[in-house]
Each structure stands twice: as structure tokens, then as C-alpha cells.
């Protein structure tokens, strides 16, 4: 394992300290927790926005804290969802009297811990609503199983729900718009290599020198298929087609595109993928309202990428384009 760390069991603590030290005027840590909040949180009179989950997906989620996006992010151990008491601290830190909205990625652990925190918060008189993001089309969408995973699309839920909250919307309005995003967003990823959880010390899985995995999750969960590495154009085509088979995007629609790097993939390669994604959309008569290329939801040092498409209407467009002061998502 080659990593620039101190104690592998303390990486999350060290990271949170280093994060807040980088943006001391923007962020603060809730004392004795791994909860990071806007310096001015709780913002009175505004719905509070809280997200979080296991660490190892940086800049998710603490990088998305700031005016126009999240109020708080709760950091769990690497790839392990945070506990309800920590999430409760996040909810309290975000509560400005208008209720708190939770953005949860659809993993059993995240859902359980955040839901329990919501119950605890409600017991303390804080109104809580939530949305569960499940944008990963690599997984069958069945109500009998765990269902689809939440991946990079989650960041656009933060963005749009955050803009709505910043506009002074009510908890119910924030929920409505967040659910609209979830209904219209789809993602799919692929990987060339595995990341290594620091405390585990060895890669989570193995891919052969000439192999890639299509549909992989951000913790290395299995995807759709392992096969020989294809060209960037073929990879982009497969990801986009699987997304569009799942969600119809009619001609003349407007979409947002996110090309997300999983950690070790150079930006050069993300732009090469973007080139093909844009040309496919153009060929299908779909308009691109805005494109995001970079690392938004990583998986430690996994090499690979994901593509996200979000179908937009006028409301979503204006919220997506609204200002954000989050360090990892400046608009």
C-alpha cells in the first residue's frame, strides 16, 4: 500500500483537520465530532442541508459545504457510513429553525444511520425530511432488493437542493425539488483499477492488466461486466447508452453532463471521454446546458470514471446555475 498518511486508523480525523485548516474562514468542525459545517451554520431562517457518508469519496461531501450548497457534512470511517449520533450532531449544527433536509446515498448503512438520526432529531423537535439518491443504473432497480446505489449524481442533488434552500424555500419545497432531481438523474461508472482502504492495507479487488469493469460502484461493488479495456469512445458510448436505455431523453431535451473521475484517472482522459459523450448527445439532438468535468465523487485512488446525465426543466436550470461558494463546486 503506497499512501501519504500517518496512522491508517486516523486518516479521517487527520483529513478533517487538514480540510478545515485549508478553509478556516469557510468551514468549521463541530467539536469532538467528524461533522464539518459552514462557518456561519446554523443559518437562521434557512432550511439546513446535511449530507455525508463513508469517507474516501473526497471532495464528497465536505467539499460541497458552502453558501448555495450544504450546511453540514458528516464523515464516516473510510467506506463506512457514520453513526446516528454523528449525523444527529450534523442535523443540530444545520438547524436554523426551518427544518433540516438530508441527502442520503442509497446504501443500507447510510439509510439506516441517517434515518435513525432523523428519528432522534425529531424527538428533539427538529423537523427532518430526506431524499435517497439512487442514480446508478448499473444495478437493477427492484423494490425487493437493496436497490440502486447513489453515486456521482448525488453532487447535483446537493447543488440544486442547496440553491433552493438558499433561496429561502420551505422544507417541503426543498424536498420536492430534490426528488425531481433524483427522478431525472442517472449515472454509470467503470474502473480500471481498485483503490485501497488504508486500514485494510490491500486493494479491495483485482483487475487484470488488460481488464476493466463496467458498472462498478464507488466502493468497488460489482458492476455489470468485466472485459478487456475498450477505447475511450467505446466506453463513453456504453455508459451513455445504458443510461439512456434506462431513462428516456427525448430529442430537444436539455441536460447537464457530469464526467467524474474516480481518483487516479488524469483529467486528460476525462476530457477525452467528454468529447465522445458530447458528440453522442449532439447526434441525438439533445442540448447540453452545462458540463462538469473533474473529480466529484471518488473512490480513493481508483482509476476509472462515471458519466451522469440530468434531464433539466427551467426550474432545475436556474437552480443549477445559481451561485455556490462550496470549495469544490464554485459557480
Amino acid at each position: 500500500m503506497k499512501k501519504i498518511i500517518n496512522d491508517p486508523n486516523e486518516v479521517v480525523q487527520d483529513m478533517v483537520q487538514g480540510l478545515v485548516a485549508a478553509y478556516p474562514t469557510k468551514l468549521k468542525v463541530v467539536p469532538d465530532t467528524l461533522v464539518i459545517a459552514r462557518q456561519d451554520a446554523p443559518v437562521q431562517g434557512k432550511v439546513g442541508l446535511v449530507s455525508g457518508g463513508g469517507s474516501g469519496h473526497e471532495p464528497a461531501h465536505a467539499g460541497y459545504i458552502g453558501k448555495g450548497m450544504l450546511d453540514c457534512a458528516v464523515a464516516g470511517e473510510v467506506f463506512t457510513s457514520p453513526t446516528p449520533d454523528q449525523v444527529l450532531e450534523g442535523i443540530k449544527a444545520a438547524d436554523g429553525g426551518e427544518g433540516v433536509f438530508l441527502v442520503i446515498k442509497n446504501y443500507t448503512g447510510d439509510v439506516l444511520n441517517f434515518e435513525m438520526a432523523a428519528e432522534l432529531a425529531e424527538a428533539e423537535g427538529i423537523q427532518v425530511e430526506k431524499v435517497i439518491v439512487n442514480d446508478d443504473v448499473a444495478v437493477e432497480d427492484s423494490s425487493f432488493t437493496t436497490g440502486r446505489r447513489g453515486i456521482a449524481g448525488t453532487v447535483l442533488v446537493h447543488k440544486i437542493a442547496g440553491a433552493m434552500a438558499e433561496n429561502g424555500a420551505s422544507l417541503q419545497e426543498v424536498k420536492r425539488v430534490a426528488e425531481k432531481v433524483v427522478a431525472n438523474i442517472r449515472s454509470m461508472g467503470m474502473a480500471l483499477t481498485s483503490g485501497t482502504v488504508p486500514a485494510a492495507g490491500k486493494p479491495s479487488f483485482q483487475l487484470e492488466e488488460n481488464e476493466m469493469e463496467i458498472g462498478i460502484g464507488i466502493h468497488g461493488e460489482p458492476g455489470i461486466e468485466r472485459k478487456p479495456i475498450a477505447s475511450a469512445d467505446d466506453i463513453a458510448t456504453e455508459l451513455v447508452e445504458r443510461i439512456m436505455n434506462d431513462m428516456e431523453i427525448p430529442k430537444e431535451s436539455e441536460v447537464a453532463v457530469m464526467i467524474n473521475g474516480l481518483g487516479a484517472t488524469p483529467e486528460m482522459e476525462l476530457f477525452i471521454v467528454n468529447q465522445k459523450v458530447q458528440s453522442i448527445l449532439k447526434d441525438r439532438g439533445i442540448y447540453v446546458f452545462q458540463t462538469f468535468v473533474g473529480e466529484f465523487m471518488t473512490s480513493l485512488e481508483m482509476a476509472g470514471c462515471s458519466v451522469t446525465l440530468l434531464k433539466l426543466d427551467d426550474e432545475l436550470k436556474s437552480l443549477l446555475g445559481a451561485p455556490s461558494e462550496a470549495p469544490a463546486f464554485r459557480i
Partner: protein
């Protein structure tokens, strides 16, 4: 068997020893069909349980189990933390007021725990989760009026054998689908350790 404060503490301390001893084993189970953190999570959680019980004094079983529940809830994380937390919280609630827990009331409390687990995790029996270990044990205590350490262990053993052959449809293992058949469920394996510890505490009791 009758569970009093001391026995309950012994039970939890022995469980902690088993979690530490099986940390790597549980993590290894969680690698092919999970994310390889279950042993780390359980060892961290029960380590904290042991410290908590050491530094406090208790007058009833319910309070012990409440501290176990709250500690697991706030130290384990992941899917298993809230689930074990819920199970122990239900035990604690149901056993409130009992100074020395008898078998029948323990069976009712375990059944409550299973219901709590199912509600929390939305898993039914047969989905290859810890539910498939808790449920048959609760049933044993409800239905058999004379449970022994040995019948407890043999129930747990046969549950483990069945779970291994199931297909996971809940939790992280569900993404691995058919590939889960033939692999043991880590949460069921750690639940097994909890009841194995109970049986051993119980045996030590009857041997005395």
C-alpha cells in the same frame, strides 16, 4: 438459565473477546461479498462496549443492555451498527424491570429484537442477513420450554449452514447476487459469536 446483571456483563465481555479474536475472520467473510469492514466494525464496537461496562455499575439487566445498544449504535457504523443497536435496544426495553431473566421472557424479548431488526432493515427471513441467525434463536427460546446451551449452539450451527447457501437480496451483499451462494454472511457469523458467548457463559454456569 437465568440472566442477571453479572451474567449479562459476562456475556458481553466474552462476546468482545470473540469479536477481537475473530476480527480478521469476519473481515475476510465481508471481502468477497461486501466491502471488507465487518470485523473492523464489530471489533471497534465491542471494544467500546467492554470499556463502557467496565467503567459503570449496573443494578439491572435492562440498563446493561441499553448501554450495549447505545455503544454499538454510536461506534459501529455501516449497516450492522444500527441493526445490532436496534436488536439490543429492543432486548433492553422488553427486559425492563426484570431482575433475573427467565427463558420465556428472554424468548419474547428476542422476538421483539427480531421484529425491530426486520422493521429497521426491511429484510425478511431468507434474505441472507443477520436476521436469519436471530430469528431461529428467538423461535427456539419461544417454543422449546427447556433450552440448553447445547440446543442453543446446535440451532445456531444449523442456521449458519442454511444461511451460507442463501442468495443475498438485502445489504451490500445484494449487489453480488448469485455469487453470494456458498459464502457465509458476515453479520450472521458475528451474531453467531454473540450466541456462542451466551451458551458458553451458560455452560460455565451449569458446570459450577
Amino acid at each position: 438459565m437465568r440472566l442477571d446483571v453479572n451474567k449479562t456483563i459476562q456475556w458481553m465481555q466474552l462476546t468482545n473477546e470473540k469479536m477481537q479474536a475473530n476480527k480478521d475472520y469476519l473481515t475476510t467473510l465481508d471481502q468477497p461479498i461486501g466491502d471488507g469492514d465487518h470485523g473492523i466494525n464489530m471489533a471497534r464496537g465491542f471494544q467500546e462496549v467492554a470499556s463502557k461496562l467496565n467503567e459503570s455499575t449496573y443494578t439491572n439487566v435492562s440498563d446493561v443492555l441499553k448501554d450495549v445498544a447505545m455503544t454499538l449504535m454510536s461506534k459501529v457504523g455501516g449497516a450492522s451498527g444500527p441493526l445490532f443497536g436496534t436488536a439490543f435496544l429492543k432486548l433492553s426495553t422488553k427486559l425492563k424491570g426484570e431482575e433475573s431473566v427467565k427463558q420465556d421472557i428472554f424468548g419474547t424479548a428476542l422476538t421483539e429484537a427480531v421484529n425491530g431488526l426486520k422493521q429497521r432493515g426491511k429484510a425478511e427471513e431468507g434474505e441472507k442477513t443477520m436476521v436469519d441467525m436471530w430469528a431461529p434463536i428467538a423461535q427456539l427460546f419461544l417454543e422449546d420450554s427447556n433450552v440448553t446451551a447445547d440446543t442453543l449452539l446446535s440451532t445456531a450451527d444449523s442456521a449458519l449452514t442454511k444461511i451460507k447457501e442463501m442468495t443475498a437480496t438485502k445489504g451490500r451483499a445484494a449487489y453480488f447476487k448469485d455469487k453470494t451462494v456458498g459464502h457465509q454472511d458476515p453479520g450472521a457469523a458475528s451474531t453467531y459469536l454473540i450466541f456462542e458467548a451466551l451458551a458458553e457463559v451458560w455452560k460455565g454456569d451449569s458446570e459450577r
